[in-house]
């Protein structure tokens, strides 16, 4: 049975600016072991930037990140990955040329060590390693109920399924901290319910710590242990859902702000990301 | 399904190739000559006249006397595009054609020559690299199946130096003069360097190298250097588009044309015509005459063109490269004739033609019989001399025609033979070949 523990990641006074625009303004967040943390806020509040800083895709001008007692100014993406932080993206960032299975298997890359000579021979050690990790990948596929599309190139999958595969890839890394950027964006109600179930189960069964960005207040309030609210690069609230819901500042931030999503046209976004 | 069929079609096509290589039926009394030519691609302008000249001469012979010693000469052209692997493919495809297989092969490219030397030696088919290919192959002891008649690049380089010396009134005058070489930066272009360096020590001139990267369409840097260093004489080892470009380049920096001398592959109509008036006065080496007023050429017009035959137009007959093709054909047929003298008037095998080439002796009298007085000079080959002491002559472009401006020059044979031997032996060593003892070969 999970119980929320000490902070495993502490972002301290993070400031990030692009040219003139300040995306993050001295934000401090801590993420505690085993919890589900929701980061919310109106568009352009800097939620995604925050995740990007945490797993090293952006390098903040000021502030530090402490991960399991180790403090550093800037992360490198592959260091973050190696250290057990994995994530999904707002606009699905799958490897479109590969099948579902292969995408999930890429999540195991960090744990596979046979060098290219063994790989070239394949039979023997490399194959054994391959099969061991295949078994793990299959567990995740079963868990996410995507057996049917195992051999389908992900490019051909519907958006909702792609999101699920991406989650699978992140899980395959056996992360300690899982960052989910709008896991339910562009999903219908059933898909959302599935996704919620998965998130809770992951948190439950694997004890994975989860930080997620979500717009759907209902979802957020249901599944998260704690909510952080960002607005224009500042943190305006941090606490249990009910508390946050009551906070006047939050209400102010959300007043007049209709309940909208950032990605009506997710596919184009994905395409754009592909080009990048 | 349509696309699947097309795939099958391609597969089928690929399979169909397999039935090649096995030559088709030939009449028995024929002597087959494979013709590696290039009528397309970047070097086509030079390849076409040569191929036409050769083919026309064979047609003429067959029309006039019905072949050599009563044996009809047949040939098949194969397009190499001056491309080495294509050349190898052509050679392999054609070498077994005809009743006796290929009697010899004219690679018509230094690169292809190199690629064929070993194969042909193994197949016992003579490689006739007339005025190109590897110079040291003149040493017949090491290269029994390669022939470099009538003269190699090294011989020509020496001849050019002799000519320059003559122009300046004595080779000793070369001292402290500057002689430059503009060359295309591939195997062929580098051939003369060794010789010119050797001679520079002998005569004390400074030797300047101006490599031009192939294909040589952009040379302005080179010509700026030349304008700066002002060599007294300038040689050129170029090919294809490089030649005309270089001549223009020389004009553009005001280099005196009559001090600019090209190798015989840089001295034909396609090289000077595109340069227009700029080319007037430009010189080049050669080992035969240009023009139509020679018996053999007249016969071609008479027996081929008057009968609406021929591979080109009448006016192109007699161009430098056309006549060179004719010369090549004459050599080949004379070798076959010589061989027939020993092995009988029948279709001959490659090794028999090789004997013919090794005993080829085209005397002045024979040249007269061939109606080629003034067109070519006598040569005589032997087991250890596959070059045959050919001579070199300098010609000059007057805007209309190529005119001789020197007498026949005999290169320094003693020195050259020395160089051939040295280089050939090192090759033999690398390849583990034991040279023939020519004293024992009759």
């Amino acid at each position: 049975m999970r119980r929320i523990g000490e902070p495993i990641l502490t972002a301290d006074q993070i400031t990030l600016a692009f040219g003139g625009i300040t995306a993050l303004n001295g934000i401090s967040i801590e993420i505690r072991r085993h919890e589900i943390l929701a980061i919310i806020g109106p568009n352009g509040a800097g939620k995604t930037s925050m995740l990007n800083v945490i797993n090293g895709f952006y390098h903040p001008q000021a502030g530090t990140i402490t991960w399991k007692g180790e403090t550093r100014r800037r992360m490198r993406p592959y260091y973050a990955a190696a250290a057990g932080i994995s994530r999904t993206f707002q606009n699905v960032a799958l490897f479109r040329g590969m099948t579902t299975l292969d995408n999930v298997m890429t999540g195991r890359l960090l744990r596979m060590h046979r060098n290219f000579l063994w790989q070239a021979i394949y039979f023997g050690p490399a194959e054994r390693e391959e099969l061991a990790h295949r078994a793990y990948a299959e567990r995740i596929i079963d868990f996410l109920e995507i057996q049917a599309i195992r051999k389908t190139p992900v490019g051909r999958l519907p958006y909702g399924l792609q999101k699920r595969v991406e989650l699978g890839r992140a899980l395959a890394m056996e992360p300690e901290l899982l960052l989910l950027d709008e896991p339910m964006a562009g999903m219908n109600v059933e898909e959302k319910e599935d996704m919620c179930r998965f998130i809770l189960d992951i948190n439950d069964e694997f004890g994975t710590t989860i930080a997620l960005i979500e717009h759907d207040m209902g979802v957020v309030m249901d599944i998260s242990d704690r909510v952080v609210v960002l607005d224009y690069g500042r943190k305006i609230a941090d606490g249990p859902p009910d508390e946050v819901r009551a906070s006047p500042e939050v209400i102010a931030a959300y007043l007049g702000e209709p309940h909208q999503r950032e990605d009506h046209a997710a596919p184009q976004h994905t395409a754009a990301a592909q080009r990048g | 399904m349509r696309l699947f069929k097309t795939l099958l079609a391609v597969m089928a096509a690929a399979v169909a190739v397999s039935c090649l290589g096995a030559g088709m039926a030939f009449a028995q009394n024929e002597q087959f000559i494979p013709r590696l030519v290039y009528r397309t691609g970047p070097y086509a302008p030079n390849g076409i006249p040569f191929a036409d000249g050769y083919a026309d001469y064979l047609d003429m012979i067959d029309a006039r006397v019905g072949g050599v010693g009563g044996v009809k000469i047949t040939y098949e052209e194969c397009e190499t595009g001056y491309n080495n692997d294509k050349g190898v493919e052509c050679y392999e495809r054609l070498k077994n054609k005809g009743p006796t297989g290929a009697s010899l092969v004219d690679p018509l490219s230094t690169g292809i020559t190199y690629a064929l030397i070993e194969r042909a030696t193994a197949d016992k088919i003579p490689v006739v690299s007339m005025g190109y290919g590897r110079a040291d192959a003149s040493d017949g002891a090491v290269f029994p199946y390669v022939f470099t008649l009538p003269a190699t690049y090294w011989a020509q380089a020496d001849a050019l130096i002799k000519y320059v010396g003559e122009q300046m009134g004595g080779l000793e005058k070369l001292k402290d003069k500057k002689i430059g070489l503009v060359y295309i930066d591939i195997a062929y272009g580098k051939e003369p360097i060794a010789t010119l360096e050797k001679l520079s020590q002998k005569y004390g001139y400074t030797f300047l190298k101006y490599p031009v990267s192939a294909p040589g369409i952009e040379q302005s840097a080179t010509w700026l250097q030349i304008r700066q260093q002002r060599p007294d004489w300038l040689f050129m080892w170029g090919w294809g588009v490089m030649n005309s470009t270089a001549i223009k380049g020389a004009a553009s920096v005001g280099y005196p044309m009559d001090h600019f001398i090209g190798v015989w592959w840089s001295g034909s109509e396609p090289d000077v015509v595109p340069a227009g008036t700029a080319a007037v006065g430009y010189k080049s080496g050669t080992f035969h005459a240009a023009g139509q007023d020679y018996g053999a050429i007249k016969d071609i017009l008479k027996y081929v063109y008057d009968k609406n035959g021929g591979h080109t137009t009448r006016d192109k007959v007699g161009e430098v490269l056309y006549n060179r093709g004719v010369i090549n054909a004459i050599y080949d047929l004379e070798a076959i004739r010589t061989a027939q003298g020993k092995f009988g008037k029948k279709p001959l095998k490659g090794e028999e033609v090789q004997w013919g080439y090794e005993h080829l002796d085209i005397t002045a009298q024979r040249i007269t019989e061939l109606g080629s007085d003034g067109l070519m000079v006598p040569i005589a080959l032997s087991c250890d001399n596959h070059e045959g002491n050919g001579k070199v002559r300098i010609q000059q472009w007057d805007g209309q025609h190529w005119k001789f401006v020197s007498d026949w020059i005999q290169p320094d044979r003693a020195m050259l033979t020395e160089m051939y031997k040295e280089s050939a032996l090192s090759y033999a060593k690398e390849k583990g070949i034991t040279p023939r003892d020519c004293a024992k070969v009759m």
């Binding site: - | 190298k209 490599p211 990267s213 369409i217 302005s220 700026l224 250097q225 553009s252 595109p274």
Partner: protein, 297 residues
């Protein structure tokens, strides 16, 4: 090197002038890549093909101007054919596929051109003087000068075309994003035909300039190789880039060849041009004037 300043100047000028000639070829690439994202491998062959047509017509006794007009028409027809038979069926394919298709086109034109006009070399003289011109001890080649002027005016014309005309603006829009193109109200196929035609005409001009230097023959198609480093340097999508890139490459390779070449045994200008471009790329991966490559998640 510096002991002889006017020689350096001479080399620089020579470089600038050859650079312009490279730019002429590079322009064709840029136009097509800019508007359709196609890296047109066939540009070199188009140069040859256009020049062959032009010179072929002159040899058949047509006056130069008429030969030029007809050649232009031919290039436009070619553009239409390319769009109808090739591009139309390959819309929305990956760049590399389109690239490969243009290679097929290159092969086709190579064969076709030689089939129609023969493999011989065709001398081309449109009356540009070739005599050396010595200005204050510095050699300037008259021909190159004319070439430079032609290239310059061509670029000016293109610039006007892109800035002033509706089509031009439409093309710029397409270059930025294909959705936008629709909104401009000009169908993509039409735009493709236009850019390929323009590229064809640019190719014709390049072909005439190079051709009257080399003689019109197969090797003309190889000038494309001289344009590639220019593209790298200037960026595949920028007309001014093609010009500036051409000049930089021209000057760079000539200086290298003349002053450092001999130290390495010469003939270094080919790879030096690429190395030079490479160095620039390491600092600006999208070329001097190319559009930024944005990475986003």
């Amino acid at each position: 090197m510096w002991d002889n300043p006017e020689f350096v100047l001479e080399v620089v000028i020579g470089g600038l002038l050859s650079g312009i000639m490279y730019s002429l070829v590079a322009l064709g690439f840029v136009l097509i890549f800019k508007a359709s994202g196609v890296f047109n491998f066939a540009q070199g062959t188009m140069v040859l093909f256009a020049a062959l047509t032009f010179v072929g017509l002159i040899e058949r006794g047509l006056p130069i101007w008429m030969a030029f007009v007809i050649a232009v028409v031919v290039m436009i027809l070619l553009a239409v054919a390319v769009e109808r038979l090739m591009l139309r069926s390959l819309v929305n394919q990956e760049q590399i596929i389109l690239f490969m298709a243009t290679i097929g086109l290159a092969f086709f034109l190579d064969g076709f051109g030689q089939l129609v006009w023969g493999g011989d070399v065709h001398p081309l003289d449109i009356g540009i003087p070739k005599a050396p011109l010595i200005i204050g001890g510095v050699l300037v080649n008259e021909f190159d000068l004319v070439a430079a002027i032609v290239a310059g005016s061509l670029v000016a014309a293109l610039a006007l075309f892109f800035q002033r005309t509706a089509i031009g603006r439409a093309l710029r829009a397409v270059a930025d994003d294909h959705q936008a193109a629709q909104s401009v109200g000009i169908p993509l196929p039409t735009i493709w035909v236009i850019v390929w035609s323009v590229a064809g005409v640019v190719g014709l001009v390049a072909g005439i300039m190079w051709g009257s230097n080399l003689g019109v023959q197969f090797s003309l198609s190889l000038v494309a190789l001289k344009a590639l480093p220019v593209l790298m340097l200037g960026g595949f999508t920028s007309v001014p880039g093609a010009i500036v890139g051409g000049l930089i490459v021209g000057v760079g390779e000539k200086l290298a060849e003349v002053f450092w070449g001999p130290a390495f045994g010469g003939a270094i200008e080919d790879w030096f041009a690429y190395a030079l471009a490479l160095v620039f790329l390491l600092f600006r991966p999208q070329g001097l004037f190319g559009e930024r490559i944005i990475e986003r998640v």
